[in-house]
Symmetry: C2
Subunit: 229 residues, 2 copies
Amino acid sequence: MSGHLQPIKLDSYKPLRELVCENIRQAIIDGTFSPGERLMEIQLADEMGVSRTPVREAIRKLELEGFVVMIPRRGTYVADISIKDITEIYEVRTCLDVLAAGLAAERITDEELDTMNGYLHEIGQHVANMDMNKIVEVDTAFHDVLYNASRNERLRSIINNLREQLTGIRGRSMSYPGRLVETMDEHRNLVDAIASRDVERAQHAARVHIENAEHTLLRSIAEPKKKAK
Amino acid sequence: MSGHLQPIKLDSYKPLRELVCENIRQAIIDGTFSPGERLMEIQLADEMGVSRTPVREAIRKLELEGFVVMIPRRGTYVADISIKDITEIYEVRTCLDVLAAGLAAERITDEELDTMNGYLHEIGQHVANMDMNKIVEVDTAFHDVLYNASRNERLRSIINNLREQLTGIRGRSMSYPGRLVETMDEHRNLVDAIASRDVERAQHAARVHIENAEHTLLRSIAEPKKKAK
DNA sequence: TAAAATAATACTGTATACATATCTGGGCAG
DNA sequence: CTGCCCAGATATGTATACAGTATTATTTTA
């Protein structure tokens, strides 16, 4: 979206470090900073018009979240996502998504089910228009409802963190030929299983969905479709 | 162990924030700081003989790890672990431990198996002597080998984080009547299953082990065994 | 000319100083 | 006597200054 760092807005009264953190994270996700690129505190601070202190605290948080790698006394670098990383993340996410789907099938409310069905319909329209941004946005909201229905805060936060680590490259998977239609079918199956409170089927649907997403992502990466900065 | 914060040692050349972080985490785990207690930056900095900067960065990390809760402009408080939290954590951990056991059964080396068997034997001796500290120590090492054998860094780090959040109260479970013998049997089953590369059986053994640990912990908490500060 | 050593530069790590918001206590009014 | 308001104190949020180390470039020597 943005090709450059935003100067910090003072709109909210959230601590500066939070705004700075979100700003840098977004810049990493949307490709403003390339993997392996060095992040220097002074430079970041200057560009955003703040001092080094909030920048440092933001970087510490991003390190915990896995977006950057810090080498003591050497500096901070944008984390490089390798095939091995993708495999690792999906190994964990498959397991957790299956858990979340099972729990949601037991604990979801009818209102939440309505919301999910609404999102499903919305996604269908955006797919018809090929509006990628909207698709990703609503897809995220759709899964948020699901994870929330698991009634497990930690599960939700761990999954969200793992998802965010892949956000930068997830778009590739989406634009893979035929994947969108597949995804919609899988979503439909998942919602139906949860709606009928069928834990086993919900777990199976979640597993199929996440495994397909992984395979598509890995396949799309194997293909030569690099876009330079 | 310690009843008070340690002044910071300059032994290692690790960044101060790391040492401070470990120091505070340990103090929370061993009960020097009670749940709900307020942590003040200046006081912590003075006690450890450092400035506020590394203390602040350490606290940010502890917040991400779930050990403390920060309220903007209000201060930092030691996280309070509720029954709901324990249930949440074990819900996720069960899933992840099962995953780790299955992966380990596929990927573990013979050397690592030897190591695990060695720890198992060691635990047996410490149980005979009722040396709780040693038991916890070797038990931790035992599981570390297992998680490491999953060959998934993220899985390992997530599980370790969840474990640490319960470390403070895990001792209760250990001292529950008969639990130690049960635990040893479960460990034996787990190692045997992994040694025979039987994924299904390893997963089952892991699930049984973690679920029993949870039940024992919840039971021991339900009983009135509070020790005041 | 190449390699090694030394010096200079630049960034991270840490400490301290300043600004601002929240909490506490006392006084005054109802 | 109780409740509200204002003022002072204290702690957090942010900025800046200082120190130490790593990297790089330049110079000297082989």
